[in-house]
Symmetry: C2
Subunit: 550 residues, 2 copies
Amino acid sequence: MQHDAPLDLQHAFRRLAGMHADAGEVVTLRSADGSVDRVGYREIAERTARLASALDGLGIVQGDRVATFMWNSHEHTEAYLAIPCMGAVLHTLNLRLFAEQLVYIVNHAEDRVVIIDDTLIPLVAPLVDQLPTVEHWIVVGEGDASALGDGVLRYEELLAEQPGGFSWPRIEDDRQAAALCYTSGTTGNPKGVLYSHRSTLLHSLAILTADSFGICKSDRILPVVPMFHANAWGLVYGAALSGASLIMPGPFMQAGPLTTLMERERCTVAGAVPTIWMDVLRYADEHKPDLSALRVVPCGGAAVPRSLMQEFEERHGVTVCQAWGMTETSPLASVAIPPADAVGEEHWRYRTMQGQIAPLVEVRIVADDGTEQPWDGVSSGEIQVRGQWIASAYYRDDTSADKFDDGWLRTGDVGAITSDGFIAITDRSKDVIKSGGEWVSSVDLENALMGHPGVREAAVIAKPDERFTERPLACIVRDSDVSAQELVDFLEGQVARWWIPDEVAFVDEVPKTSVGKFDKKELRRRLAEDELDDRHAVARPAAKPESSPA
Amino acid sequence: MQHDAPLDLQHAFRRLAGMHADAGEVVTLRSADGSVDRVGYREIAERTARLASALDGLGIVQGDRVATFMWNSHEHTEAYLAIPCMGAVLHTLNLRLFAEQLVYIVNHAEDRVVIIDDTLIPLVAPLVDQLPTVEHWIVVGEGDASALGDGVLRYEELLAEQPGGFSWPRIEDDRQAAALCYTSGTTGNPKGVLYSHRSTLLHSLAILTADSFGICKSDRILPVVPMFHANAWGLVYGAALSGASLIMPGPFMQAGPLTTLMERERCTVAGAVPTIWMDVLRYADEHKPDLSALRVVPCGGAAVPRSLMQEFEERHGVTVCQAWGMTETSPLASVAIPPADAVGEEHWRYRTMQGQIAPLVEVRIVADDGTEQPWDGVSSGEIQVRGQWIASAYYRDDTSADKFDDGWLRTGDVGAITSDGFIAITDRSKDVIKSGGEWVSSVDLENALMGHPGVREAAVIAKPDERFTERPLACIVRDSDVSAQELVDFLEGQVARWWIPDEVAFVDEVPKTSVGKFDKKELRRRLAEDELDDRHAVARPAAKPESSPA
């Protein structure tokens, strides 16, 4: 039979350090004015060995958790490679967590070492005393680190002190943990998702397939998605495996520096959440950059408005491609590449879904009563996922057994699946709106509203209603002085008439969670406590005789 | 951690039968004039279940070998799916084997059932009495089957008799055998290569990656490579996984029907050995077909002449891409996609190598003295391969332990690896030419000679020589009345001067092995027995002072 080798990340690292050593590089943006650090894969590999050697010297052994608290950079890439390949567990800390969540996570993971960007020290300085498991802080950069107390080491000094090279241990069992990432729900403590070597390597191979991101050695990938989010969608390990280069934005996540970076570095792939791309689109409209090298922009983390995709394509020739997944799914679960023969509206119907189920991933829809639903594009229920890189439990957590069912992850997303395996999500289960006994899709309403040129952001939440139990309320961030009435008139013909909100609230910005998603729980709180004060009742079209509740 | 599902071929089949049911199809060419059978994946899936049900009814249980003796067709596709998915082992029999090899293989594998195309019955009829393990012959087609004796069943009748549907067993261990293919060396008995579910599914995922064949759901794949060769390069299972359609040539392997099929069916991918493409190129030059749908033509099984690739590209806009592998490697081991920044001669240098090592595959070069050689593009030795879909032993064979070394397959190919992981094969170890103590690459000489417009085929073998031990002898099939002297003059400047043969033999055709490769052993026999009678001594350029032996 075949050689029974472990599916481990050392394989990806060996390719980067070997055949791709002179072809690939990591470019890191170091200032908003465009200066970059450029480090070839040969040097990345050498520095990675030094980092592993340094951590080994600090007493890190197989299975120990080593955390990163960093922006996207070549140093973070080195940590991504060194920590799993030495048998330890890479724990990426989310910079945007609330202090108490961060404390909980570091203590729960029992991180022994944290590698931290100097500019981020102020975020953790007040918490240091609450993190007893952390023995060493390794600081990237020259900034003042006194606030971290004792045990501070400098990343570059540490690397320079090493003799060079490292004797990588054999990963005996490829189900050994490689990485750890916590996901913060809106209730309860954050939950840890542990990725194995096997799951991560298979996921890396999957993002190289043509019907997913199609990552290839000629690619120059800009992961705008932070490396503390679901392993930056797997792009770093996918680059190691394929030989693609990585273009890292550092902390410069604004449309201007990102667009300039894409243009100068001839990026071919760039991944980010829709809100970032909305900003980039506005910036690109104004500055007309040359984005001709971009072959695809995978976009996910929230539903991608059709208007965003269409305008990018029409005005800048850039294909924004919706993909779906979450921390628990590594994250690739589906990618919305339409069949080649789907044209016009049919093409866009596919593009605006969450995508076709990826190879090695299984998906089912389960209704409230526990019955599995048919793939007819209509029957709705909770999306459940299972597969080689899909979590089937949380790390050291027995409070969340209800999130999993016999190996299936209960995603909390509600939607349907078409007969050709495209997932269409209508809501988060906790955000669903039920009006007069029927579901209203907040996702569809938001997408339609964001297609209006005067709308920057739209979040639709349920508003208690005496007659219909709930009615949708549109919370809008305006780009122009569009009126509430104009907005609901704009919806006519785009969504079912009875979905159209009878009230619009203008807000200065939509509150976001720590991972940048709309925080609808906070919006509902503001509504309940009467803090949404710029509300406008609007006249909905008169109800005509039709089978609708409103 | 992640859901611990087996990596089995049922997953690929479920995708074909589910999300791809209405999108994909198998088209089978049924006559040289172009009539086809068109069967959608939904029907393929239903028929596959019926075939499994029928085999189950014949008493086939998990682990049993079921053989096929068939051309490429939708029935063969059904066998490809049904047999492994029911837990049995698909044993593809090579139609071109010598009778005694076929008898050996069927008996060695202990095939219980053989599915056979009616047109192929004459090939096995004389052997039936020597195949005691075969209990049933299932005949595809209506042709006379009396020569097969008792136990003959008709494929369509058998399928029609089933109730429909099949209760697929769970594949508990994904290292269970899925398929079996014998490789016939030029010495000793054929050797069986057993593929597991896991190895085959991982291989299928690999051929979907962008830097390999990049198979995607929009593809329409023409596997000219027979399905009895290394699982048709994995294209069938890759199609099931991705949803690509399959266009099957049946027995019509001539340039005319193949070209017409590619044109009419808008094939996007077509895989075959170089000799087929040389015929197609000549045919296309004459008939000017519209091959604009073809995005890539993976080509392997023998070194691909640069002239073939260049002329296809210049005259027909078709990219012929060299790939390398063998039955033992499933077969994908490397694909020759050049870096994007390699242009001109640099581009062609990459294209004419055997390709960059595929993900999840490991390669090393070992010199005669057993030392591993550096990847410098020069240091030469035997290419050895190891990985998830690379055989590490033959099936029920303990005579060939020397073909494997600690999980590494000793390929018998001799060559070098560049620092960026491209394999360049110079010879088969048994075909090497050593002249004056230095290696002469028969592969390079053949490629150069086949670049001459008057040469149809060129095979270079070693000729005993008193002074230099061996000298290369070029055996040429002419397309025009080019002279021997013109041919060697043509080589000047293309290869080292001392490589240039001092003798040319014109032959009517180059003898081929059962898998269509040049049979150099037979050529050497003819040379030894003085049967190459159209030989011409030629004047090589005078030796100038240089460090060459000749």
